[in-house]
Symmetry: C2
């Protein structure tokens, strides 16, 4: 039995709600997840959902840190973005304590981060904690950190601080093109992964003809060359991930990117990076808990 | 009253059916259009729809040429693609006469064209006739011909023949991103054209960061900088058209592209081209009739 303070670490995203009870040293004591992403929660209902899910963990020695979309305008309470460059210190300073209805002094929402490049702002919520967790887990203070997904993030870290980042709408483009465009007739996005077709898509993207043109190949290759919809699903995925890499790597000529995400997705990115001659390393779900734990230490909560 | 043979020129596309009765010299005698694109016609019903729409024009001196998706697998009868490079001669040789149920020897479907670049096939149906019409109307024998739309086509013409072409899914991306993606919350695609916002999007695209990243700006500029959805509709359009131009112009460093299409759309492309320092000229609906008329002359139908 571990005594001392505990941290209730919560990742409250758009479509899911996950929590972990962490010991003072960061050990994960228990984990839970719920189908209560913020899109399923009405305004004013957040405190009740939190209570229903996490009350058993919130004893007198516990503090809770929440990252993710719970801090957005549509979430529990809006936590203003922290501007890059920023590190743990800035995140800790800008914690939003006491969202409406929470037990006083016991719950804080982690702000997201914003960044302006070429006069256009960019934002993330939740990924910043995963990046800080990855720094803790790897011992790195500098590098490129990649969070693949619906809206992939590529962040550059310098001296332990997030210097800048960019979003790529890769996962959303894949869903739109594969399921809602004309391509949906020749592309099966639910088929098993086809490595050769994926690699072909990646290499095609690397040629730099751009997605507006190359995506049409996922139709013509089926129509004129009889390629199977299953293969074209992986081909389209390769086109998109290859395009993301081609653009993102233009900023990052050297170093070994750290991929953070679900094992299958990071494996696809690692595979595509290797076709560019780049090695990478991958971290999975543990990054969020490590990040919230590190932030709790920074804030002297543990 | 003009005597002699007449041409019934028909443009039968995915969502619309248009026809014109042309005199032997190409003069347009009458025009009609119907909401009977091929998507609205059941297999086996094409001859009846043709008869209902065009029987009054099909006297003993008339021949009919049909271009567009009527020649696709989902159309009246499949007319195999003509491979590039190809000119009027090849199109005329590959006319598909007598689709099922048509009056014998009187109706022919114009084949589309295919082209393979970088090992990936590309196709068009209907645009090839517009390009040949544009050649006739301008007197050009060489040049770049651009047909903006759902699936824009950029064709290179040499010595009066279509040498090669590429498709860009620009219009479809605009509809998907503006109406079905997360961006639909910050973007109004039905708002009036905003020239300054459009130009900003075009210039942003020219920087070459790629659509997967730049598209996200249509969300953050709304969310963080309070840009109006109306402006962001034109901004997104500029991002997409700018991206198409950036890619397509990489092949075509010189010359004055000929834009073929509806006046509003070609005006937007001309505007974006001018931001790249390129002049252009524009042709509108007359290109289809001119192309079918030229093909009828080539085939000695007139």
């Amino acid at each position: 039995m571990i005594m001392g303070n505990t941290l209730v670490a919560v990742d409250w995203g758009t479509s899911s709600l996950r929590g972990a009870r962490l010991a003072a040293d960061g050990q994960v004591l228990e984990e839970q997840s719920f189908g209560r992403g913020i899109l399923s929660v009405s305004p004013g209902e957040f405190a009740a959902v939190f209570e229903a899910c996490f009350a058993p963990w919130m004893d007198e020695r516990s503090t809770c840190l929440i990252s993710g979309m719970a801090g957005s305008r549509q979430g529990w309470a809006e936590a203003a973005y922290c501007r890059c460059p920023a590190g743990f210190g800035e995140l800790a300073e800008h914690l939003l304590w006491n969202p409406p209805g929470a037990p006083a002094g016991r719950v804080a929402i982690v702000p997201g981060m914003s960044c302006t490049q070429d006069d256009v702002p960019d934002v993330m919520r939740g990924e910043e904690i995963q990046i800080f967790g990855a720094l803790r887990l790897t011992g790195l203070q500098d590098g490129i950190f990649v969070l693949p997904g619906t809206h992939s993030k590529w962040a550059r870290v310098r001296h332990g601080r997030i210097a800048a980042f960019r979003t790529f709408m890769t996962g959303e483009f894949y869903a739109l093109l594969g399921r809602q465009s004309l391509l949906s007739r020749t592309v099966d996005t639910d088929a098993p992964f086809d490595g050769a077709a994926f690699d072909e898509g990646v290499m095609r993207a690397f040629e730099g003809r751009g997605l507006l043109h190359t995506a049409f190949g996922a139709r013509t290759l089926g129509l004129l060359e009889g390629r199977a919809p299953a293969a074209l699903g992986s081909y389209l995925s390769g086109l998109l991930i290859g395009e993301e890499l081609r653009q993102a790597l233009a900023d990052t000529d050297t170093g070994e990117p750290v991929l953070i995400g679900a094992p299958q997705l990071t494996a696809h990115y690692a595979r595509a990076l290797s076709l560019r001659g780049r090695t990478s390393r991958s971290l999975h779900d543990q990054a969020t808990w490590a990040g919230l734990h590190a932030l709790a230490q920074q804030t002297k909560l543990l």
